[in-house]
């Protein structure tokens, strides 16, 4: 166990090295390299996706136990890689049109992904922190990538300052936990907390740690940055923010709470229940008054994280399986929705108002159909994918006796359905505006079609995904 094996970390090492190689090519070739750079990074992400299951052999430790790979990590890493690759492909056309294309963009996305994979595989409080910081630092830069506009710079700065604050809280919490348990290793923490005797210092440490993690998944009351950052950041970056980093942060959240802090479940459950309820309610109510579609999607993502946290509050294997299924179904929905937002372009300029969608069914029937599918799915209407996500989340909550949580969840999803369906109503029943530019771009339409078909026909065979999620969840519970 103390040996310095590197095999389980092979995908991360591969990505980090290839990132440096590509960076060198970019530096020497200049901005001319940006055309092939995106595809080179996407290809590396795909190779990493192939390597991920190879590297994991059951539960294996690397770097003397700081790094762990198991079925749970494999599942989450595949999702994060998929999200990053899709966001990157979507970004190509957009960046060229908006004149912000630079070869560093794909490189930063690549390093953010490396950070996410490190977060997912963290087996130590310090490893958790460095992975998180690597990912966040890339995201701060990406948020401010369109540096000539005030909005984007503001988004980057706001994200950076609040992110630094949350990192501080996380570290403070981690130091408290270290002070109580005398180790930062997750295995050691599990061992120590088995005793069940939990001190006040540990509880405060957990509260701070949860605050830091909740910021990263943008759960209420640490959500303030989300709408501003989504609105200000370039749209493909916002799509990236809404997909891969959320998944990685959620994976980290689940691993920390279940594995090392599982012994203190009674202490943290009430915190998670509160965060979950507050996120669901705020996601449902605050989104109603939004007029900008990116802000609306930001509130929607806050709500979705609230639902996912229900599974964590349940704290059971079924609950974790619910989270995994939820995130796996959330990823294509949110990527597809952002692909639609990127298709909202009039005379070469982006429009972001919800009203701009009026009558899109007549001017852009394909896009309107896809967006309608995503909206119905997000609202949780059967038989679309989003319904199954909510189903697998609410069932374990009921089994765990969290009736209040489940009832509030169902009620808030009814409220949220209002603004999702309003978009459908706008597109199908209102008088058309001037149509959007066509064609929307080859990459965008492919992604849109693929995600819409997945969301629509997931119910045909949910078993493979649910089965894999169940296996991944059982890995976390010492299976």
């Amino acid at each position: 166990m103390e040996s310095l094996t590197l095999m389980p970390a092979l995908p991360e090492i591969f990505l980090a090295v290839i990132g440096m190689v590509l960076l060198m090519f970019g530096v020497f070739q200049g901005d001319a390299s940006r055309h092939w750079m995106t595809w080179a990074v996407v290809a590396s992400l795909v190779v990493a996706g192939v390597l991920v299951p190879q590297a994991a052999d059951g539960r294996s430790l690397a770097f003397g136990g700081l790094f762990v790979t198991d079925a749970f990590a494999v599942f989450m890493k595949e999702l994060a890689l998929l999200g990053a690759a899709l966001a990157l492909i979507m970004a190509t056309g957009f960046n060229e049109r908006e004149r912000i294309a630079r070869f560093e963009f794909p490189i930063l996305v690549l390093y953010a992904t490396v950070g996410m994979m490190m977060m997912i595989s963290a087996n130590d409080l310090i490893a958790l922190y460095v992975g998180l910081e690597l990912q966040s630092l890339c995201l701060y830069v990406l948020a401010a990538f369109r540096r000539d506009t005030v909005r984007s710079s503001e988004a980057g700065l706001k994200y950076f300052v609040l992110g630094a604050l949350s990192s501080g809280m996380l570290l403070y919490g981690a130091s408290m936990i270290y002070g109580f348990a005398g180790t930062t290793r997750f295995d050691g923490l599990t061992e120590v907390l088995m005793g069940g005797d939990v001190g006040l210092g540990l509880v405060i440490g957990i509260v701070f740690l949860v605050a830091g993690l909740a910021f990263k998944v943008s759960a209420v009351p640490f959500h303030m940055w989300t709408p501003d950052v989504y609105e200000g950041a370039p749209t493909p970056v916002a799509a990236f923010f809404a997909s891969a980093p959320k998944i990685a942060a959620m994976a980290l959240f689940v691993r920390v709470m279940i594995e090392p802090l599982g012994g203190a479940a009674a202490e943290w459950r009430q915190i998670i229940v509160f965060i979950s309820i507050a996120s669901m309610l705020l996601g449902a109510f605050a989104a109603i008054w939004q007029t900008n579609i990116k802000r609306l999607l930001a509130y929607s993502s806050i709500g979705h994280m609230g639902y996912a946290l229900i599974g964590l509050a349940a704290g059971t294997e079924e609950g974790v399986r619910g989270i995994l299924v939820y995130l796996a179904l959330y990823l294509p929905m949110v990527v597809g929705t952002f692909a639609c937002v990127m298709g909202m372009r009039r005379q070469g300029r982006m429009v972001e108002g919800i009203e701009d969608l009026a009558g899109a069914a007549r001017t852009n029937p394909g896009m309107a159909l896809a967006l309608a599918i995503f909206m119905f799915s997000m609202a949780g209407i059967p038989p679309l994918a989003g319904f199954f996500g909510k189903l697998y989340i609410f069932l374990p909550a009921i089994e765990a006796g969290l009736y209040t949580l489940a009832v509030i969840g169902v009620l808030s999803s009814v409220v949220a359905a209002y603004y999702y369906l309003r978009i459908v109503k706008l597109m199908y029943f209102d008088d058309p505006n001037e149509g959007f530019d066509r064609p929307m771009g080859r990459e965008l339409s492919w992604i849109l079609a693929a995600t819409a078909v997945f969301t629509l026909f997931f119910f045909v065979s949910p078993e493979p995904l649910v089965g894999r999620a169940a296996a991944a969840a059982s890995a976390l519970f010492g299976g």
Partner: protein, 204 residues
């Protein structure tokens, strides 16, 4: 022993006093200078505790880099510090209240601090006996072996920070003249020099 205690009180008192001066000095440059003084005293306190490596790092990193950077920023940027300080009085009661609550909580926490019963057993990194090897040696022994992963990731983070700084600040401007050495060396006398015979009294 008494000399050590005296030294401790001296350094601690100067550190606290300069800390107060950092926030209360009117001139921001004086603030930064007091900050440097506070760093030096904190480094001295580390030396007293036998943590000479931390003391070294504090002086090199904080005094050598961070404080000098602060000084640069304070001198280069045209920030109106008087305007920044406005509202200080106004926010003082609320700030003091929050601070008081935090202090009370900290006292509560550390007063009832408990260490988990199994903590001794899982603590994996034995602290070397003082005097046997130096701090830097002891840190090096674990930093490049057990914690090589963290060390490498920290390197990656620094790389990303560098890329980020370049992406956000470097821009290509038109009309900037660059030295092209090859072109300079290629110039020959015939390209640039013409010998003209000028007769006297006629001009060119």
């Amino acid at each position: 022993m008494i000399i050590q205690a005296l030294a401790f009180y001296l350094f601690a008192a100067v550190a606290v006093a300069s800390g107060v001066m950092v926030v209360s000095a009117r001139n921001p440059v004086h603030s930064v200078l007091f900050l440097i003084l506070a760093f030096f005293n904190a480094a001295a306190l580390f030396v007293l505790m036998g943590a000479e490596f931390l003391a070294m790092v504090l002086v090199i990193v904080y005094v050598g880099a961070v404080a000098v950077l602060f000084l640069f920023v304070v001198m280069m940027l045209d920030i109106n510090f008087v305007a920044l300080r406005q509202g200080f009085q106004q926010y003082l009661p609320v700030g003091a209240l929050v601070g008081l609550v935090l202090v009370a909580e900290l006292v509560l926490v550390f007063g009832a601090w408990a260490v988990a019963p199994g903590a001794e057993a899982v603590g994996t990194d034995p602290i070397p006996v003082a005097g046997e090897i130096t701090n830097a040696h002891a840190l090096g022994l674990v930093l490049y072996t057990k914690y090589a992963y963290l060390f490498q990731v920290a390197g990656l983070i620094l790389l990303v920070a560098m890329i980020g700084a370049i992406v956000l600040t470097h821009r290509q401007r038109d009309g900037v003249k660059k030295q092209r050495i090859a072109a300079q060396l290629d110039r020959r006398r015939e390209d640039s020099l013409e010998v003209v015979k000028v007769r006297s009294g006629e001009g060119i």
